[in-house]
Amino acid sequence: MSDRAFTHDSFQHYLEEHQLMGARCQNCATLYLPPRPLCPNCYNEQLAWEALSGQGVLAAFTAIHIGPRSMITAGYDRKNPYCSGIVRLAEGPSISAQILGLDVVTPEKNQIGSPLRVIYLERDQGEEKQTILAFEVQ
């Protein structure tokens, strides 16, 4: 198994390889997404990388009309809103992500509990591109 450190940097490297990776505690078996170097459940320091299926459901969402600068740079604004949400993954953990495929014009039509699957966005950040974790409605 990978010997990458359980850091955000490693998590981001995996995203660039289009892999959604969590960390599982080797003592109490709790699965963490994002990964962590210390299990806050049992305080054990032995964790192992584990690939997630990328399947989940929508727990909460919003259609954002006024975003942070990073989203404005990516082309979103009042005329082109986007959805962010919280995804409950099939394996248990939850994560924040941009959600594609939701109705941004009539957001009341979107359903909490909708099935989602992971996608990897290459987001334009000025000169650079960054791989961003996102989900889309199945």
Binding site: T62, I64, S70
Partner: protein, 420 residues
Amino acid sequence: MANKRLGRGVAVVGAGMSNFGGFPGKSGRDLFVEAFIAMRGSVNKGLDPTDIEAFYLGNYSSDLFEGQGHNAPLLADWVGLTPRPAVRIEDACASSGVALRQGIMAVASGLYDIVLVGGVEKMSDLPIEDVTDALATAGDVLYEIPAGFTFPGFYAAMATAYMDRYGATPDSFMSVGIKNHDNGALNPQAQFGSRIADIMTAKIKKAESKGYPVPTWDSEMAFLHDDRANPMIAWPMRLFDCSPVSDGAAAILLASEEVAHSLTDAPLHIIGSGQASDAALHARPELTTIGAARWAGRQAYAMAGINPADVKVAEVHDCFTLAEIIATEDLGFFAPGEGYIAAEEGLTSLFGPRPINSSGGLKSKGHPVGASGAGQVVEIWKQLHGAAGERQLPGQLDLGLTHNVGGTGQTCVVHIFERR
């Protein structure tokens, strides 16, 4: 958790605030001096400022908002407190609620008899995009902000979970905004001294005088449903669901119960204090409640030996309208899922059985984030002293509560005050 108690009794003996609003040309320092002067005026037996032994300042980010770090000693100097220790406390929007708790513990420890607690934020100098980004740093910048979340977005997401679970609608949230504007219109220190109806009338008059098409809203709800009058920020949170960008400061004087009566005839005894922390929003098992608020509330009620029903006046953290509804449930005023019904039915208005945010709350009074927790205490001070003017609540008010949240609920601090 054992029922912990303070080492000795501590009381609020004075409280005051600057006006909250947008004040070009005034620095955070200027606003804090105004708050200090107002606080000094409230100490009815007189305060010799040299008796103050330490200073605890709540401030979220003078660094980002004003380009000024290390502001506690600067403010201490501006109100004549140097060389006494001056400490800045940062817990996002709960900074001055937490500073209050630190001040209380310092007096309870026996180290000091009299301490000053303050809160300050000067937000309006930055363009709105920079304010959004500065506030976003109170979220998880590695895992939440890259997902596109903003603070209105976080609370909007909680709102969708709440609507899905309990059947609330965007109108439920709007009812909180209408109520808090009604209250703020009676508070001369509030940022918005006007009801929604007054704002409608002003916009209609302006349209008429300029020869523009005149809007035809027939109710406050019709105005709030109008995308132009009340634009969407993060569905379902619209502009009038969000607290504003604000400048302001507040100051509170604490004293041990041994010396409190040498400063004032009517101290407010701090009988309950609780604080808790929590993970980022996505990592919590439930999105329709703020766990840290429930924890902090339970600690404060247990220390005070009272029940939620005993509280007469409460200032809760309504950074967004949805947040007030959740707060009233987390604090035990209403059962989970019933807070929105209470808001719609007017139970939380000045005339209802459970008045919430008589000051206008953060929504209407204003939300200079690091000053908001201390500002809540100023309202409790006024209400429990019968000094709240037109918005004064009736009856024998003996118990007040403040509930101050940082971030999306990573921090919450609750205090309970008693007038004996």
